[in-house]
Symmetry: C3
């Protein structure tokens, strides 16, 4: 058994739902693990992670519209707005999605479903450099 | 230390909140691990996982009603409806719940709380065969 | 490779969003792991876990207000109210947040982001003793 950590840096666009499956898969496959578990962790409070349907761009638009409807950028709703009207909604959208995802690895490859992609959600209205910490536990090939 | 993977196949009813605790416990106990961590992963985008109260069937009804209220099947709200009015709501309900759950194992048994059960949520309006990937990391007894 | 489990007991105030970062960090650092993965698990169905912004107390107030707005304590909405009007909302708030969190550990320390804290959310209107199960997998220093 073996454990290894890595980091990925992603430069996001404002309010982007960004697919990162290829970046994560490339790092994972480079570790040459036969059976394992990959854990992604995002050390931010206004960006988050999600496994989601990756075939249709409309899914991303609908997910974004849903999050804006449930967590509106209405200054009257929040006390915390140090960094603008998108500040507190970004924290709540992060709370409703994931800070961490663990995905099984078999024969060196992520066991994502046919329609699954890994997404980084940038909840802020400005671009950011976001960090991801990857931890892989498994048997070396 | 030891890692093992398995699979479970579950045939769901339409919009079912299905308790799968017994299936997961049986597989886990068969691995004879003294201390470990079990990670469940569902490789689907319109079904998801949840730990929830398992004593009262009313909890399941109320949870289902809540999800329908927050994520209504209203075609006017979504662009993506390739597979019908339950298609995009199923993706959003999956986003609000879990694709993955990690549960501690002690003396070979899942350390669920007294009132906790593991549930598979079928968000589609038709029955499906759903796959679960189980990864157990731990010390053999 | 090495796996160890521990437990923390936390006495909560009613509807408290309680930071537990220091308790979790102290236990983790005591294990002297060079590279690892810590998994927190809460064996309850009316209290939950969350990584959230920990600098501003307003964030906690806004998060609490958001959860009450989306999951109102309105008896007309729920069948399950065996333990009062806060009973079913507590289960739903738990479903929307986390039962489990996995956090990377490097040089013995949790790899939380600058603004991240670990929170235990008490969703009930009365104080409770809550248990946390910690599982740490990693390489000993």
């Amino acid at each position: 058994m073996h454990i290894v950590q890595g980091r990925l840096s992603i430069e996001t666009e404002p309010r982007e739902i960004r697919e990162i499956t290829a970046d994560v898969a490339r790092w994972t496959e480079g570790q040459r693990v036969s059976v394992g578990l990959l854990t992604l962790y995002i050390p931010h409070t206004s960006a988050s992670l999600l496994i989601q349907e990756n075939a249709s761009p409309d899914v991303r638009r609908d997910l974004d519209a849903f999050l804006r409807r449930v967590v509106p950028e209405d200054a009257g709703l929040y006390r915390h707005n140090d960094e603008g009207p998108d500040d507190m909604p970004a924290h709540i959208k992060s709370a409703l999605t994931q800070t961490q995802l663990s995905i099984p690895v078999t024969d060196g490859r992520l066991q994502l479903g046919t329609w699954q992609g890994i997404f980084l959600l940038e909840h802020r209205a400005s671009p950011h450099r976001r960090l991801l910490v990857l931890t892989l536990i498994g048997e070396k090939k």
